[in-house]
Symmetry: C2
Subunit: 331 residues, 2 copies
DNA sequence: CTGAAAGCGCTTACAG
DNA sequence: CTGAAAGCGCTTACAG
């Protein structure tokens, strides 16, 4: 435990041990490629000096960064928390550090991030970036949750169409014949896929279907609550493109004096942390975020390790419907 | 827009422009220190090749990392989201990248992170690390939310004692005379401070006070709900050490058939995203997380820039009580 | 098994 | 204003 380990370099250790820096380097990286006597001298010198390798120098020499970058469209969105945690856990186990950045910091900066030599690969949670930028990174990329077919990168996602069908079927089986979908942002691939899934599933079931605009946020759900309340014929089943939207819709509708699920059944999407503690607890599609983060990180790490894996196929993780109190039989 | 910008180095650009690498370097860093003719030749060569500076090499040469590291005890805790977002925003504006790591990845790894040359400074959200490790980093550190007096680092926090007093006063003014506090983990500085604040404030007000064990989580709040319900004399006012705990307590108590706030008023702590959308919406202490993140990042960046600021004093940000539906007049 | 030397890709005194 | 050369702190063929 050297107390003054501030600026010890490998040459300091070498000098103290009376060996070359090459030997110190080898002792640290491959102890058994060094003779016992030398090795012990070096290890002692390392101990005495409290030497810590300078990773930046090591990485430059080895032309790698030992780091992966997570890019998400809004870091303050709590949806991402468990994904970050899972990615970090996998990365840490593989001795990789994790960088994190909002993907809305500007075109220039984003383009640079993938080319400045400080990351080995990228976990991308945003399907809305310019494909020219994404494909311009000369780095392995894995898409999570969202995807963009124009990106030359594998993805780890749930089957969003099938997931919405689960929600529609659930409401239809409860006897609902008039369903409303509160969609996400018009240009978001998840929003589009979920809306299309809603339309085809309701069509197949022969129930009435309508759509109102939203953007995944609590506020948008609350706003639609007023539109819904003003309707002559109010749909009795509502499927939201996100849990936040659903919670916003429910809380506002209740403030307007309606009862959930007595007067309207509501289904969310994602199964965020508070979905089962909300009152009423929220029926929703469970999206296994930890699993997605884990698989995505493993996929990226595999691409980093085995650079000649030709094409990695998209991976699909299982999503299921969680039935709670916010949905009930139609009157 | 060079198409093959895969491995262009500064020497490639220099060769193409017919100048030295020094001139290319200067043109990029200080264009006006280079003659007009040279500058234009270089800029053209940069354009043609699509050259991107290798930040890893630049940083090694300049002996800095242009990166700050955020350390938090549990990345999947949604409490941190808006802090991460604020820190990232400030860092990005200062041209710093952000690394993120769970502080529970093991003693060795944590100690290394602060000494491997890949970060210039650390934002620390964990007051439970061994002071020897924290003080062993030869890097500027700023503590956020939590603090540990044994760390040789400034902090940005709210006044937790005063905040709890606000909550106690609120309930006392509503006529409550028997208060319960659900505390956080025994060894956590926030938990300790809030509990002590609760005890001194209730003592000063002359109302009855009791404490039950928790750990900030939803589950712990739900668990205490049963203990509370089993009491002969049930406290009519409950102050929880976190919002999550409060939501767990409320939802469980309601499932047991009690009404909130009719039969028990509940106050949380933090004002997380869903606090105002919960049903009933939660009266709580608003902890300005974005503000804390922003101030913390600015403080750290200032320490990075001005290395000889002797001692940075702790900063206190303002917290206030948000009154919502979960508290009401005692019967 | 070990060391001298080159090199990762930059920047920056220094000299002109 | 510009370039040759040294150097950031490592690792790794290469030679012995």
């Amino acid at each position: 435990m050297g107390v003054m380990n501030s600026k010890i370099r490998i040459s300091d250790v070498a000098a103290l041990a009376g060996v070359s820096t090459a030997t110190v380097s080898r002792t640290l990286a491959n102890p058994d490629k060094v003779g016992k006597a030398m090795r012990e001298k070096v290890q002692e010198a390392v101990r005495v000096t409290g030497y810590q390798i300078n990773a930046a120098a090591r990485d430059l020499r080895q032309r790698r960064a030992r780091s992966i970058l997570i890019l998400a469209p809004n870091l303050s969105n709590t949806f991402f928390s468990s994904i970050f945690a899972a990615v970090q856990e996998e990365a840490s186990a593989a001795d990789l550090t994790v960088q994190i950045s909002d993907s809305n910091i500007g075109r220039e900066k984003i383009a640079t991030l993938g080319q400045d030599g400080r990351a080995d690969g990228i976990i991308l949670l945003d399907g809305g970036l310019d494909p020219e930028i994404v494909n311009g990174w000369r780095l392995p990329v894995v898409q999570l949750c969202e995807w963009n077919d124009a990106y030359d990168a594998p993805s780890v996602c749930i089957d969003n169409t099938a997931a919405v069908e689960l929600a529609v079927d659930h409401l239809v089986q409860l006897g609902h014949r008039d369903l409303l979908h509160i969609e996400g942002p018009k240009d978001n691939i998840l929003a589009i896929t979920r809306r299309d899934g809603f339309l085809s599933a309701t069509n197949a079931s022969g129930v009435k279907a309508s759509i109102m605009a939203g953007d995944f946020t609590i506020q948008s759900g609350a706003k639609v609550a007023h539109l819904w309340a003003a309707l002559d014929q109010r749909p009795t089943g509502v499927i939201c493109a996100s849990d936040e939207c659903a919670l916003g819709f429910i809380s506002e509708v209740m403030r307007l004096g309606f009862d959930v699920p007595e007067q309207v059944s509501v289904v969310g999407f994602d199964d965020i942390e508070f979905a089962d503690r909300f009152n009423p607890s929220l029926t929703t599609i469970h999206q296994p975020r930890g699993e997605i983060g884990r698989q995505g990180a493993q996929c990226l790490i595999a691409m980093l390790t085995n650079k000649d894996v030709a094409v990695v196929p998209p991976k699909e993780v299982h999503a299921h419907l969680v039935t709670r109190v916010s949905t009930s039989r139609a009157l």
